[in-house]
Symmetry: C2
Amino acid sequence: MTRRQELSWRSLAQRRRYSDGLDAVEARLAEVAGAYAGPLGAAARSTLAAGGKRVRPLLALLCASRHAPIPAAVVRAAAATELLHMATLVHDDVLDSAELRRGRATVAHEYGVETAVSTGDFLLARAFAELALTGDATAVALLSQTAVGLSEGEVFQRQEAFDVTLTVAAYRRRCERKTADLFAAAARLGALLSGVDARQQQVLWEYGRLLGLAFQVFDDILDLSGDESRTGKRLGADIRDGTVTLPLIYALEARPDLGPRLRDGAALDETAVAAVIADVRATGAIERARDVAIRSIEEARRLLQTASDDVERDLLEEVARAVVDRFG
Amino acid sequence: MTRRQELSWRSLAQRRRYSDGLDAVEARLAEVAGAYAGPLGAAARSTLAAGGKRVRPLLALLCASRHAPIPAAVVRAAAATELLHMATLVHDDVLDSAELRRGRATVAHEYGVETAVSTGDFLLARAFAELALTGDATAVALLSQTAVGLSEGEVFQRQEAFDVTLTVAAYRRRCERKTADLFAAAARLGALLSGVDARQQQVLWEYGRLLGLAFQVFDDILDLSGDESRTGKRLGADIRDGTVTLPLIYALEARPDLGPRLRDGAALDETAVAAVIADVRATGAIERARDVAIRSIEEARRLLQTASDDVERDLLEEVARAVVDRFG
């Protein structure tokens, strides 16, 4: 057996560990949603069935100590991060009056706004119930701070809507609250609840934050350059919603005349939105934003090199690369 | 000094302990809301300033062990129960499209539905952040289960709207989820976080539940017989919203012909609502419901007699009596 084969066998065994871990998370999520009858259970099951990439749970699992089986507490924390993420999606869809998410009817559209508000509250409360089962109050403190930030991020996004003077710093702050802090919390929870030491927890926390930032920037780029048939979303949603993203900030720097059109985004028809997208692309703003995301990923990878042997460095590096491969 | 005076001096000193405790809770709540700029902080401060009776925090404080100063953890838990309660009020007002609560504009009305959804999420997350600071995961588990129940109760209420076949058991289940379980949790948290033993925690939990049930039944009675100038609410809101309460269930038993009118509650004008209220009153349903509430209070008081010396029996009995004096 060559060293190369050995490595790939080992990598496979490790992957098995994580696919089993994700199955365990999925079972917890199904149990949570299955325990409730009526519209609340149905709405929760429909949200869970809509799937999604389970990036946050995977991150939590991957940040558990390599030197022992993944503890049940980490599986619970992984499920909790997904429940919290889903709660925000359900409430976001209420706020945006969205009809579709990932090609399926949103809870707000299928069950009504009232049930959607309650379902979001239910998922949020269940996230903390799940995490409390670990018996670790530090973990609860971490996730609750993150949840506070998520609601702040939501408000920032609304407050900053159609503000074409938005700074990169303000954009970054919003990305942290809305995305990166939950990635960071997922990573740290995996480490914390598997006995990884405080120094390494800090490294993984920062790794998660950098990964989450890149993830959000790539997501914002996709809204201007993605393949609609693959993403399942119409391009230009951010333009219509007035969400001023990093590529739009860079485009505005190069072409201040885009300002009035973006301020007017809600009123633009399909052709006008397509014209704005073409103009944004022509400024090179997409490439500039992409560079920011890639630098964030590179910083995350550099950080990993400082991590101890307790940390699943190779796979976490693969995850970082995969984010670039997939989106970049 | 007579024995009577001695008792009242002691009682006063104790009251000082609780008024100081409530001040400490209020300071925590103000700090939570004050820490956030923008519409989220403003909406949270406006919700806190609207006041309310702080019944849940007081219950938590009163259930702390008598044999020591009230621990900071109990103050935090007391604040957490109020934050959770407020989160549900803010979201309820979104669901009901309510414009006024306690004579003030609701968050949904003043800041818009979007900010109200985020503010509710924020208050919910802050409740857990506050409780996590106690370092007690059992406390978090207890409150998160209660929060799950609150969202269930909200859904029950909507599902059961205008259902004139609602049973007393279903009504009771809804009251527990929406009100009594949070009273019970507040009581138990006060005991748990001040080192009261498990047996007494159980007694206080049940005491809180019985008190909460009575509180809800009295509140439902007020909607049919209250003084509008004192409650600040128009009578008959439950009839218009289709919330089938205990007095309405009893009235339906005596007068099945009320069924079609209650099923049609949303369409009734002021005169028709007043006529339904008069008919309900004439059946004696209010007195029957009142008896249920009073029996619940009596059971709570009997339970207290089984409590140990660690428990603030006298004041808790006063609280139970005050609920009857005020509403009954």
